[in-house]
Subunit: 423 residues, 2 copies
C-alpha cells in the first residue's frame, strides 16, 4: 500500500532538535498555512474532524450572503448548486483512484453504504451473504443488518475479523464490504487482494474509505473495486458532517440501482413524470435535495488536497506515526500503554492507537493540555496525524505533554473523570 | 383550515394606494427587517427557497470559524452538534402542532418519507396499498414506488386525485401519504378528515408539510396524524437544501422502525455494540452524521417564525393571494391566464398558480423584471407569498410588471425562450 512512498528512518533517540530539522526540510510544511488552527493546539484528531481550511470562512460567506441572500432561487443554475454532487465528485476522483463520472458527493456515509449494499444485494440475486469486519466502526455493520433484514431472510450478514475475510468469501457471497483502514487500530486492508478474491468467487467488493481518503494513496480502479463510500469531514477537511461520497465503477452504472428512489436520481428530474425512471449513470445514487452550504465547503478542502503530492503525504504520515510510537514507547515506558496499531508503517493508516485501562481520563487530560486526540471505547486512545498540518515537532510536543500527564498523574484529577455525551 | 384567521376583503378595484395603506396597517410588516432581500426584487418564490434571515450570515461565521475552526472536535459536545436534530425539532414542533420530542430535523424530505413509509409498511404487515396523490410533486410517488418494490410484491402504490382519496381508503390500506398543500395548485387537503378516514379503516396517515409548514397553521396532533415530513428551506427559511424534518407521534415511537439502521439511530451510539439496537424514541429515525453547518442555519429561520403569530400570517397570506388573483384577472384580462389554484382562500396554501401556454418565457421575463416566481412543467407559473417579507404593494408592483410584459409582448424576446437546466 505504500505506493511509491519513501520511508524515513527514525533515529534511536530522536530529540526535539531532530524534529525541528525534519520540519525545516519538509516540503509539505508550507501547506499548514492553508489551515486555521488555534495557537498552541496540537491537533491529532483530523481523522475524526479535519481542521478548517482558511478559505472556508470566505466560501461560507459567499454561499450565504451572495448565492442564497442575493441570487436566491437563481443559484440552482447560476451557482451550479444542482450539479455540485457531480462536480465535487469529479474533483475528489483523482484522490481515490477513480475516473471522472465515477464519484459523487452526497448524503452521509451510512446512507451511501445502504445504497451500495442494497444495489449489491439486487445484483447478486442468487447469493446470500454480506461479509463485513466485525470489529469495524459499527454503523457499517448496523446498516448491513438493515439491508439484510429487508430481504426477508434471503441475505444474512457474516462478521469476520481481518485474517478470516479471504477464506470467508465463497460462491454464496454477495459482497465484501470492508473499511480500508480500520477506525480504531488503523490497520490497512489489502484492497487489491481482497477485491481479487471477491471477484474470483463472483462476489462484489465494496470499500469504505472513511479513514483513508485524503490520508494515503487509494487506487480504486487499479484494484478493480466495484463500489466505495467515505466521508469528507476527516482527512478531506470538508467541515462538520459535510456530505459523504459514493463511488460506483463505470461498468456498474445503470446496472446497480439503489432503492431510495427520489427525484434527484430520476432520469428527468424536472419533467415531473408520474413514474420513477432511473438515471442511467451515477446520479441514480442521489435521492433528494442536498445541504448546499455544507456541500459547498467540501470544495475548499479538496482544493488543498489537489495541490499536494499523495506519495509525499504517505511518506510523512508513516514517519510521523513511526515517530509517535517510538517516542511514546520510549518516554512513557512503564505507564501501561500497549500499542493497538500495527507496528509496521506499511500496514497502518495515518493514525496510531494505544490501549490503556485509564484511556478515557488520560485523553481528557491531554485535551486539557491542548493535545487533541480521541477515545474509543472501551480502552483506546487514538491519534490521527494529518501530514498537511501536523509536523514532527508537534509529535514531539504531544508526547512531551503526555509524559508530564503520566509522570505527574494529572489524569487522576476529578475533572478528567467526567464523561461527555459524545466521546 | 383557516383556524382563527380573519378574512380581509379586497376592494373591487384595489389601487396601489390601498396596498400602501394595508402595508402601513400590517402588524407583520416589521418582520421584513429580519430578512435580507435585494433592493427592487419582489420575491415570490419563498415556497421554493425562502429568503435569507439577516442573522444567517453571522451564524454561519460562528459555526465555521468558532465551532469548527477553533473548538474543532470538542464542538460535538460544547456546541451541542450531536443534539441539533432534536433541539431544532423541538423548536419546530409548535409550528406544526407537535409536542416536544415528536419532531426531528435531519436528512432530506425524500429520505424521511422513505423512512416513515417503510415504517408504516412494517406496522401494517397484513395490508397491501399505499395511497398517494398522483399529481403530487413526483418524488413522493417515486419514493413510495421504491418502498413498495422492496416488499417483493406485497405492497403496491395507488395514485388517486384529490376527490378520490377518501373513497380509496379501505381495509387493505397501509397508509395515505398526502402532501398537505399541493406543490403546484396550492390546494389544501383536509388533514383532520383524511386522517380520521384513514384511522377508521385501520390505516395510517402520513403528511408531507413541505408547502404548509411555516406558511399556515398546521396542527398534526389535533388531527391525530401518525407521521409527517417536510422541508425547512421553503417557508421556514433554513437555507438552500437545509435538512428536512420528520414527525412521529409519541404513540408510535419505539413501535415504528425505519430500515436504514445507522449508528445515530442506535440506543447507545457510543457504546459501539456489535449489533443494532434501535433507540426507543424519535432518534431511531436518524441514520448518520448530519451536515452541521446547513443544519445550524435552520435555527435562524425558526427563531423568526417563533416570534410571529400564525393566525396573523394566515390572514395576511389569504389576503395577499386574494389580491394577486384579483389583480391578475382584472389587469391581465385577455392575456390567456387561467387560475390553476382554488379560488377560495380557505382552500389554498400561501401560493397561487396560473396556467398559461407560454408560461415558461413569461416567467423568464418576469424574473428579468425582478419578480421572482417559478415555472412548473408543463404550463404553470407559480407564485409564493410569504407574509413575513411580502407586502401588499409588492403584490401590486408584481402584477404591474406582469401587465407590462404582457401588454408589450416582452416575453416573446429570444432571451426569454432559453431553457435552464433547473427550472
Amino acid at each position: 500500500m505504500t505506493l511509491d512512498a519513501a520511508t524515513i528512518e527514525i533515529p534511536a533517540t530522536p530529540g526535539r532538535a531532530w524534529c525541528e530539522d525534519m520540519d525545516r526540510a519538509d516540503a509539505l510544511a508550507p501547506m499548514r498555512d492553508q489551515f486555521d488552527l488555534p495557537d498552541g493546539m496540537i491537533y491529532l484528531d483530523g481523522n475524526s474532524l479535519g481542521a478548517m481550511p482558511k478559505a472556508a470562512s470566505a466560501r461560507a460567506q459567499t454561499v450565504v450572503t451572495h448565492e442564497w441572500g442575493t441570487d436566491l432561487i437563481k443559484s440552482w443554475n447560476s451557482a451550479g448548486w444542482f450539479d455540485l454532487p457531480v462536480r465535487l465528485g469529479d474533483k475528489l476522483a483523482p484522490l481515490i483512484g477513480a475516473d471522472a463520472g465515477e464519484a459523487i458527493v452526497c448524503d452521509s456515509t451510512s446512507q451511501n453504504l445502504f445504497k451500495v449494499l442494497s444495489a449489491a444485494v439486487a445484483m447478486r440475486p442468487d447469493r446470500s451473504v454480506l461479509i463485513l469486519e466485525g470489529s469495524n466502526f459499527p454503523t457499517n455493520n448496523y446498516i448491513a443488518e438493515g439491508v439484510a433484514a429487508a430481504t426477508s431472510g434471503r441475505v444474512s450478514v457474516r462478521l469476520c475479523e481481518k485474517d478470516e475475510i479471504a477464506d470467508a468469501i465463497d460462491e454464496n457471497t454477495v459482497a465484501v464490504a470492508i473499511t480500508h483502514v480500520h477506525y480504531k487500530s488503523g490497520h490497512v486492508h489489502d484492497m487489491a487482494a481482497i477485491t481479487a478474491r471477491a471477484h474470483a468467487a463472483g462476489a462484489l467488493a465494496i470499500w469504505d474509505l472513511c479513514h483513508s481518503a485524503g490520508a494515503m494513496p487509494v487506487d480504486l480502479n487499479r484494484c478493480n473495486a466495484d463500489f466505495a463510500v467515505g466521508c469528507t469531514y476527516k482527512y478531506l477537511n470538508g467541515g462538520p458532517g459535510s456530505p459523504a461520497f459514493l463511488f460506483a465503477a463505470k461498468r456498474h452504472q445503470g446496472q446497480a440501482l439503489q432503492p431510495v428512489t427520489g427525484w434527484w436520481g430520476h432520469a428527468a428530474p424536472f419533467a415531473f413524470e408520474p413514474g420513477y425512471r432511473p438515471q442511467p449513470g451515477l446520479r441514480q445514487f442521489l435521492i433528494g435535495t442536498q445541504p448546499i452550504l455544507s456541500m459547498a465547503l467540501v470544495e475548499t478542502g479538496l482544493d488543498i488536497h489537489l495541490q499536494a503530492d499523495m506519495a509525499a503525504i504517505r511518506t510523512k504520515s508513516m514517519a510521523l506515526t513511526d515517530l509517535f510510537i517510538h517516542l511514546v514507547e520510549q518516554r512513557c515506558a512503564g505507564h501501561g500503554f500497549t500499542l493497538a496499531s500495527p507496528r509496521e508503517a506499511a500496514e497502518r493508516g495515518s493514525q496510531v492507537s494505544f490501549a490503556h485501562a485509564e484511556g478515557y481520563p488520560i485523553m481528557r487530560a491531554l485535551i486539557a493540555a491542548g493535545v487533541i486526540g480521541d477515545f474509543r471505547a472501551p480502552d483506546t486512545v487514538r491519534f490521527g496525524f494529518t501530514p498537511l498540518y501536523v509536523g514532527y515537532a508537534d509529535v514531539w510536543d504531544a508526547v512531551d505533554r503526555l509524559v508530564t500527564i503520566m509522570d505527574q498523574g494529572v489524569w487522576k484529577r476529578p475533572e478528567h473523570q467526567e464523561r461527555d455525551a459524545v466521546t
